[in-house]
Symmetry: C3
Subunit: 375 residues, 3 copies
């Protein structure tokens, strides 16, 4: 079993020890998982109280922090320091494959850059161009005329349909499908005929695409994902969409065709967006949002149908009390009827018709009149 003293750890992570520097540490785990002998981490003073019940004997923490009875290693970047320790105690495994597997199927017309890795059973089609240091995972299929930039990693079992373009430094996770047909049909004589599928998918630089996500090709032009945008698992991005830069698209989001997003848009899980919708830059859509109309920049929308967060939270506050209010409405109605009956009995002189600038009680409001008839 590997072991480090707190002093050794402090040296590794450039930290300051508060407490017992000779304490032996045999593992690193987050607060909820840590056991005796472990060092844990607390990246925020709010978590200090959770340390009390945690059996870890030491903690990596920032300088600003409440008093703590565990031995502490104080650092400026808690996560960077903790990651080093996790890697020490449980080193990541190396990739199995190097170079070009003899079990891959590579077209003679493909151009492969320097130092690429192509794993077994990958398929590289005609006229594909791979930059330098590209890594294509086992079983991935890169169809004809695709272009992939330097240092991009395509994990196992992805499919890039013909003509897909991926920039540099991207990570495309297992099972992602880029460039399948868009879902556009013209219905003629009762049959749905597939519309043109002549465009492709164009992915910028530094983009990540999650496992089993799908991005369809454009009708005539490209479906575009801007540089720096990160897409989680099981996301659907339909044909002709143009996502801006540095978007964060969480899992199971679905974006119908021909939408546009500005830069730094955030969509939480399971958001759905109708077609031809524009989402302004820096806008956030909360989980399960349903969006059918354009949304301006720098806004936060919530709910389905989506509303600005302030409006929606106000609505939800009311809806949370709605069945309580339902009783009150019935009560109010009864009290109004009761008042009307009482007023009838005191023989109120009839207001002359239209004697006032305010509208008279409308026809639907017949209770007063009808109670008069009854009496």
């Amino acid at each position: 079993m590997k072991s480090l003293t707190i002093n050794q750890i402090a040296a590794v992570v450039s930290g300051t020890v508060i407490g017992d520097g000779n304490l032996a540490i045999t593992g690193a785990a987050p607060i909820r998982d840590a056991g005796a002998g472990d060092i844990t981490l607390a990246d925020d003073p709010r978590y200090a109280s959770k340390l009390t019940d945690c059996p870890a004997v030491a903690v990596i923490r920032p300088l600003e922090f409440p008093a703590c009875d565990k031995t502490c290693v104080v650092v400026s970047d808690v996560h960077a320091a903790f990651a080093k320790l996790v890697k020490f105690f449980d080193p990541p495994v190396r990739d199995t494959f190097r170079g070009i597997s003899p079990h891959a199927s590579i077209s003679v017309t493909a151009r492969i850059g320097r130092d690429c890795v192509i794993e077994p059973f990958a398929v590289i089609g005609d006229h594909v161009e791979l930059g330098d240091h590209v890594h294509v995972g086992a079983g991935s299929v890169i169809e004809s005329a695709c272009r992939i930039g330097d240092r991009t990693r395509i994990f196992a079992r992805c499919v890039l349909y013909a003509k897909t373009e991926v920039g540099c430094d991207c990570r495309i996770h297992a099972g992602a499908v880029l460039g399948a047909d868009g879902f556009g049909y013209n219905t003629r004589e009762g049959r749905h005929e597939l519309s043109a599928q002549l465009g492709n998918v164009v992915i910028g630089d530094d983009v990540e695409i999650g496992a089993n996500s799908t991005i369809d090709r454009g009708t005539y032009n490209a479906t575009v994902i801007g540089s720096g945008t990160k897409i989680d698992n099981l996301v659907m991005i339909a044909h002709n969409n143009r996502l801006g830069k540095h978007n964060l698209i969480c899992s199971q989001v679905g974006i119908a065709g021909s939408c546009r997003t500005g830069d730094y848009v955030v969509m939480a899980g399971q958001v759905g967006i109708g077609d031809h919708v524009d989402i302004g830059a820096q806008t956030t859509l909360a989980a399960q949002c349903g969006v059918m109309n354009h949304i301006p920049a720098k806004s936060v929308y919530v709910g389905s149908p989506a509303l600005p967060i302030k409006e929606q939270l106000k609505n939800w506050a009311v809806l949370g009390k709605i069945s309580e209010w339902y009783q009150k409405w019935k009560d109010m109605l009864r009290r109004i009827e009761h008042i009307e009956r009482i007023l009838h009995q005191v023989e109120v002189p009839e207001a002359p018709a239209n004697s006032s600038t305010r509208p008279a009680a409308p026809a639907t409001s017949s209770s007063v009149e009808s109670s008069r008839r009854v009496a």
Copy 2:
């Protein structure tokens, strides 16, 4: 760089020129993407105003159209004409593979029709039957006893579990999984035991299935997709479902077990349908609909829980104003209380109990009485 004059374009698409027939065109792109030198398209007079800011120098458009200062090529089918031009300027790439790849794994008991394409690393199991002109993409797995009709294309990396049947002229996109176990369990002594998984999946003719969609096998019989039905990406169709013909099922829809749909049903994105629900023919379910009960034919349902569109839109209109009404309710309540106090002060004679055919104010409506006690 490829170039065509407007007159040449008109000849290719059988159109009529309005404007400068000698203008040189070097590309074709939709309004939002077009640049100088391009021809664009406008399939609807409503888009005429969007042409003003578009740098394209010419436009393919229908006869009925507002005045337009760009050179026009007038055609009867805008999209067919435009697709021809897109293909001219940016020709689609050909499939890399022809015939049966020596890198596919094909059972000796499989029967392969004429002119099939089987790409590398595809697996064709025992007793599989492929019709003529079937195309099985790279890495797709066609398990034992599957049957696939003429001209059907299975794209890369699909999995058809044993006994799956697919008709003619289908397109099954990358990553689709047909015939996995249904999600049915019997819980015995605390363990969930998988129910029988003896059925299969049967797909009609002219069906399209999107990337990474899944259709589970039936418990005892088939899960059936009717001919002409189109299914988008990441759709889940559970065991024992029977979808009608010519349905359009948009992305991320989930249909639980044992549902039935009529013909020409449309489900927009992220619709969810509970088990044992029947959806009538020609019914449309709006995006993110949640359906737990049968829905009649020719209806449009919206929302979760789903309601007929008219009802739901009426409800949503009210809900949009609900927090405003919340203030009004409180105001109404105060005014009622105020009136009750005033009435008390004018010493209204008590209504004799049950003196009227109308119900007296009920016990819960106690404010009038209690204010009397207080006063």
Copy 3:
């Protein structure tokens, strides 16, 4: 065509015949699919009425059952009996592959147990450990240092990223991806930087994972799925989640990062759960639920945002009538205004300020006053 008499069937399923034991049966199908010559099943007395229109000539049924004019075979376990018959009439196909395919890519450092099946184009990475009777489907990729327990079946085209651990007796369906990166980023100088991805995925025993589902690796530790838990298709389970034992997670559920569930939790289709949420044991979340806060044990939550079922159903009952109530509110408001006008006309003496222990009508409730000013 295969055929069995009712007497033969009764012998096979250990049942009792009521009716014609010599009747010849040529197939077995559920009520909605059965034709003439078939035997069908009815597992619940409620379905007795559906037998009337079913052309099946006989029925497998439990002892407690209404009078039925079809020949019956009475058994104690209807489904077990019926499954036997379905298998007789339409035998399941055998797996095509036995043993280790010469077309698989297996690291020399991998340890393979006894009687494993590894299908063509599967990839087994360095230091992988497979137990006995493990079955790895065609094209599946088991990356370095994964461990898979005895009798577990990985269907075709799954991807297990490095270090994934799967227990015994699991079924991982086609296209599932275990161990891809979590969706966690630190945004620095406008760039989203991927957080640490040092954990793995750990699956207990007797777990089933549906087609194309994805489970991400933990940040520092494991994402854990408890033994006996069943996960449907297209489910997303994010990093650091810890699911309890015997959960049932239906299709298209999405669980954001760092959640925990107790044992026997049930989530219906398309449920979404925000991050850092704890769901108590034996709790059920209804379809399309949206959960942002901890939920106690043994509860049933419905809707988005999710509420306890009783509250939510009460709310929905009110919301179903909300546009009807909208008319009533407007009517009530008119009647209150009408009453206020009448009261003004009868020259009610002003209530002395603060003469009562009840609050006076507040400033916002100005109609009485304003109507006085107008009059």
